[in-house]
């Protein structure tokens, strides 16, 4: 019997090629989109879950309020982890990790400035349960000046040589001996390292007893039956015991008094698997993902699959008139309704299977391109992941049954007496259902499309917004701290070329994290202090970035005393609430022992967006380097013309000073775009998938239109015999369908308005909603729908009426 079903199904597919093609390709494209999105979602959800004890590993975070400013940090104090293990029941072990500096590492003639240089406790590999490829994971980091490197780093420095026992030299006036090689952390880790140096190399840092200075990422392992809550409940006691006395000593106020003034200080735990999507704290090791975007993608994936299933239903039902006689014959010959339902479900599952196979092939073909797009190397893992194949088979059945059940029940309910007499099945009472499904499809498509346009507009807005500085034609030479004190000579050398307009060196780069320091105004009460973003730069900063001054002046080369001066931005001037700030002095801790020093305010810069437009402009203070100061970034303003030549010249000068250290640079506008990577990715993914959604919905509309026309063949014939023109018929047929689109457009507007409002709240600076966006989306849907219907309506309107009438 099954064989008979399959034969009938296959011959039907072959006989009605167009229909089959539309049906299968629609479903295949839908499934492909679903799989591609779900691969991304799966990847985002998989972060750090590869640790065998992932459920027991937690990161300690620090939160609090001090002097009115709130902080929430991914880092914690040096002594915390060990104290927790000793004193809190259920805490098994802990390890600390710290990233500091970007050392220049040498081995033989190989020299690299290293970005992913971390130091870690020797317990690191035990906490994360990581086996070393070479070396002993228990002892590799116990001694000072030892380092464990990743296998890719080993290859980079040593090629095929055995790295064990090799010695690196560094610009930190230390040598490190390689005591272990570890597999590179997979991309789905919340942090990546190339080097793990033993924390014992820096004994002072490792043994730092201070509980109120937060510099370490601390990870602890809990016993399987110990809950996060149980451990967190112990934290206040620990803080009172250790941090309390230290705070009293440093600040001269008692812990209780401080708390009464509204201060807070505490620790929290984060499960390591939650960090990537749910942690957005200060000082994260790496930028994390965004759960909202993952949710949005997940919903889009589900919707696209639903769209494709609806299509399948509509198309199969549309085709039902052609199958009516078969149903009649089969029923007459003794088939029960159940058997027919089985038959049509089997057909649907077969189609679903073909579509899935096609989809998997498409996914495999598109994965390289798609991986580039999302910026992650994804793979389907058809055979390597034991869950994928069963999941796909379940999906095949599910999609087959969901999309096949309505047509199956519909077809099986045909009355054999009626269909065998050739009278087309009476107009289905369920036509509202099909119309409803099409409306639903278009609501989704139009909403997706509107959303894409809003994302697009917002991003263009950001890219074109006047940021208060000029980011074009600014080349950033990175890691200029590597050439250290020669920086001034380097700058002067660069300026010898007339093409180079300005050069400015600074410790931070616009758009990058800056330090936040508490500043007080001399002569004002201490509690009026403000957190100001601050960094050091030279005299040419305002010139290099074209930043305008609102008042006063910028640093000047002929005034050496300017290194005890400060320039603030307008927001800072307002927040300090001291009237005209020029001439007043800011106090901030300086040097090793943290003594307060006074800096005279000499200028106020016009506000510029030194961070991404996700946040409002914060108050800022810019200091001038002392005589020997230098920073990591050097901005070089160059002309539009002869970019390549100028770049070549800069590299030449760099080589002169940096010797064999690599020349690394970015352009300011590229660097700026990095701030919106997540948004840019969302834009690209949602553009592609909203186009796909509209395409799939159009296929559905095609199905519905053909269904309507099929049902009205006789009516069309009669009307033509009675003198209706092609235009009359065309209008008659298209109005029905277009009504649905109008309804869908109207319904989609409030939905897209509300969802996009929420998305835009992520940005401190937003575009205004324009009615144009909605009109364009609606119009587009309308035009696409019209085109879809037109093809069939014209065909029907032009058909020979005699044929239509003979059909009876």
């Amino acid at each position: 019997m099954l064989k008979n079903y399959v034969i009938t199904a296959f011959r039907n597919l072959i006989k009605h090629k167009t229909y089959s093609l539309i049906n299968i390709s629609g479903l295949a494209i839908g499934v492909m989109a679903f799989i591609l999105i779900m691969l991304y979602v799966r990847d985002e959800l998989s972060y750090d879950s590869y640790f065998p004890k992932a459920n027991q590993i937690y990161r300690v975070t620090t939160r609090g309020v001090m002097q009115g400013s709130e902080f929430n940090m991914a880092v914690s104090p040096a002594p915390a982890g060990a104290a927790f293990v000793n004193e809190i029941p259920g805490v098994l072990s802990s390890t600390r990790v710290r990233n500091f500096g970007f050392p220049v590492i040498r081995y033989g003639d190989k020299v690299f400035s290293e970005e992913l240089w971390f130091t870690a406790d020797s317990s690191f590999f035990d906490v994360f349960d990581i086996e070393l490829i070479k070396g002993n994971s228990k002892t590799a980091l116990t001694d000072p000046n030892t380092v464990v490197i990743t296998s890719s780093t080993a290859k980079r420095y040593f090629g095929s040589e055995d790295p064990m026992g090799k010695i690196f030299s560094s610009d930190q006036q230390r040598d490190y001996v390689v005591t272990g090689v570890v597999e590179d952390p997979p991309h789905n880790s919340h942090f990546h390292y190339d080097f793990l140096a033993s924390l014992m190399s820096y004994a002072d840092m490792a043994n730092d007893p201070i509980w109120v200075s937060n510099n370490f990422y601390t990870y602890i392992v809990l016993e399987p039956n110990t809950s996060q809550q149980q451990v967190e409940d112990e934290f206040p006691g620990m803080i009172l015991k250790y941090a309390g006395p230290q705070i009293e000593r440093f600040m001269g106020v008692s812990w209780d008094q401080l708390m009464e003034q509204g201060a807070e200080y505490g620790f929290n735990l984060q499960r390591v698997t939650d960090i990537h999507l749910n942690s957005h704290l200060e000082y994260e090791v790496e930028p994390n993902g965004n759960q909202t975007y993952v949710m949005i993608f997940f919903i889009i994936a589900i919707f696209i699959l639903i769209l494709a299933c609806i299509n399948f239903m509509n198309l199969a039902t549309a085709r039902s008139a052609k199958r009516a006689r078969e149903v009649g014959v089969r029923k007459t010959l003794g088939s029960t309704r159940g058997q027919l339902i089985q038959q049509f479900l089997a057909e649907a599952i077969l189609l679903s299977l073909i579509s899935f196979i096609l989809a998997v092939v498409l996914v495999e073909l598109l994965l390289p391109v798609y991986s580039d797009l999302v910026g992650i190397r994804l793979s389907l893992g058809l055979f390597s992941d034991a869950l994928i194949l069963p999941a796909l088979i379940t999906m095949v059945l599910l999609v087959g049954i969901v999309s096949g059940s309505y047509p199956a029940f519909f077809l099986a309910s045909f009355n054999p007496v009626k269909v065998l007499k050739g009278s087309a099945q009476a107009k289905s009472k369920n036509s509202w259902l099909r119309s409803g499904l099409v409306i639903f499809q278009f609501i989704i498509s139009i909403t997706l499309f509107t959303g894409t346009m809003v994302v697009y507009n917002q991003l263009s807005f950001i890219q074109d917004k006047d940021l208060g500085y000029d980011k074009t034609n600014v080349l950033i030479v990175e890691k200029t701290d590597d050439i250290g004190r020669q920086i001034n000579a380097f700058k002067e050398d660069l300026l010898k070329d007339p093409r180079i307009m300005t050069v400015s060196n600074s410790t931070s780069l616009i758009g990058h994290d800056t330090n936040n320091n508490l500043h007080q105004v001399q002569g004002e009460p201490a509690e009026n202090g403000q957190l100001l973003s601050s960094f050091f730069t030279d005299d040419n900063f305002s010139e290099a970035y074209s930043i305008d001054l609102a008042e006063g002046r910028f640093f000047s080369a002929d005034r050496p005393a300017d290194s005890m001066c400060v320039v603030i931005n307008e927001t800072a001037a307002q927040n300090l609430q001291i009237g005209d700030p020029i001439g007043r002095s800011l106090l901030r801790p300086m040097g090793q022992n943290g003594e307060m020093a006074a800096f005279e305010i000499i200028g106020i810069m016009k506000d510029f967006h030194f961070e991404s437009l996700h946040s409002h402009i914060r108050p800022m203070a810019v200091y001038r380097f002392g005589s020997n100061g230098f920073g990591r970034y050097t901005a070089v303003r160059i002309p539009q013309e002869d970019m390549v030549g100028t770049l070549g010249y800069i590299e030449e000068v760099w080589k002169k000073y940096a010797l064999d250290q690599p020349f690394e640079y970015t352009f300011m506008d590229d660097d700026f775009d990095q701030l919106y990577v997540a948004e840019e990715r969302t834009k690209q993914i949602s553009t592609i998938f909203s186009v796909l959604a509209i395409f799939i919905a159009s296929l559905g509309l095609f199905g519905l239109a053909s269904f309507i026309i099929e049902q009205r063949t006789k009516e069309i014939g009669i009307r033509k015999v009675l003198g209706a023109t092609v235009l009359n018929i065309y209008t008659l047929l298209s109005v029905d369908v277009l009504k649905l689109i109008v309804v869908a457009t109207a319904l989609s507007w409030p939905i897209s308005y509300m969802t996009m409002r929420r998305w835009l709240e992520n940005f401190a600076y937003q575009i205004e909603f324009s009615h144009k966006t909605f009109l364009i989306a609606g119009l587009l849907a309308f035009v696409i729908a019209l085109a879809t219907v037109t093809i069939q309506a014209i065909k029907a309107a032009n058909s020979n009426p005699v044929k239509a009438l003979k059909y009876e």
Binding site: M1, N4, I7, T8, R11, N12, K15, R325, E326, G328, V329, R330, K331, T332, L333, G334, S335, T336, R337, Q339, P416, V417, L420, K421, G422
Partner: protein, 229 residues
């Protein structure tokens, strides 16, 4: 074999009630060849659909092989139908996607007969009908007369107790029509009970008995050329 008592069929639409059969009493015995005649809309096809267990009457009783079936559910009727009744239609009603062999095989599939037996039965019947050489062809590749032979083969393959034919010659030219009627007569001679709806008085004469319907009622019965009022 077939007996009806005051069989009534009323079609109800939103506004109108149409009485298609009005208290029809009819008896058909095993081995008989009966034709049903009458003008368009007199209820012939309705009668045949009810006799063929495709439809239930609105009122009256219907005994099919001594079972009172007028209140049977669709499932019960389907079971009785597939074992006992063979259908031949004016428009053949072959499934275009199946070959001649597969079309004829279909009733056996629904009877749950195993593959070897199916093959044997189908081959026997298409041999007998003279279409064995066409087994692998699709219906569209055959002439009208050949298609009707396939339909008749399909009706016969399950050895039904009764064959119901709804204007089997309606779509055929006269030579093919004659051929089908000859086939019917032969089948009847071999013992099959046949009920045939037809427009053609000439073909009606092939039957033992003709029943004339008019406005849903039996008006005359003609046995071997003699009229009974």
């Amino acid at each position: 074999m077939i007996k009806t008592n005051n069989l009534v069929k009323i079609f109800t639409t939103e506004e109108v009630e149409t009485t298609a059969l009005n208290k029809v009493n009819l008896e058909i015995n095993k081995g008989e060849f009966v034709s049903i005649m009458g003008p368009s809309g007199c209820g012939k096809s309705t009668m045949l659909n009810i006799l063929g267990l495709l439809d239930n009457p609105t009122g009256g009783e219907y005994f099919f092989m001594d079972h009172e079936v007028s209140k049977y559910s669709e499932r019960q009727r389907a079971n009785l139908r597939k074992e006992n009744i063979g259908f031949v239609f004016q428009s053949f009603n072959l499934i275009d996607e199946l070959t001649v062999f597969e079309n004829v095989e279909l009733p056996l599939l629904y009877l749950g007969i195993n593959a070897a037996d199916r093959k044997k039965k189908v081959n026997t019947v298409i041999e007998k009908m003279g279409i064995a050489h066409r087994g692998r062809h699709f219906p569209q590749q055959l002439s009208g007369g050949q298609q009707q032979r396939v339909a008749v083969s399909r009706a016969l393959v399950s050895d039904p107790k009764i064959i119901l034919a709804d204007e089997p010659t309606g779509n055929l030219d006269s030579s093919h029509g004659d051929e089908v009627m000859k086939l019917m007569t032969e089948l009847n001679a071999e013992g099959a009970t046949i009920v045939m709806v037809t427009h053609s008085p000439a073909y009606a004469d092939f039957a033992h008995r003709s029943i004339h319907l008019f406005d849903g009622q039996v008006v005359t019965e003609n046995v071997n050329g003699k009229f009974h009022v």
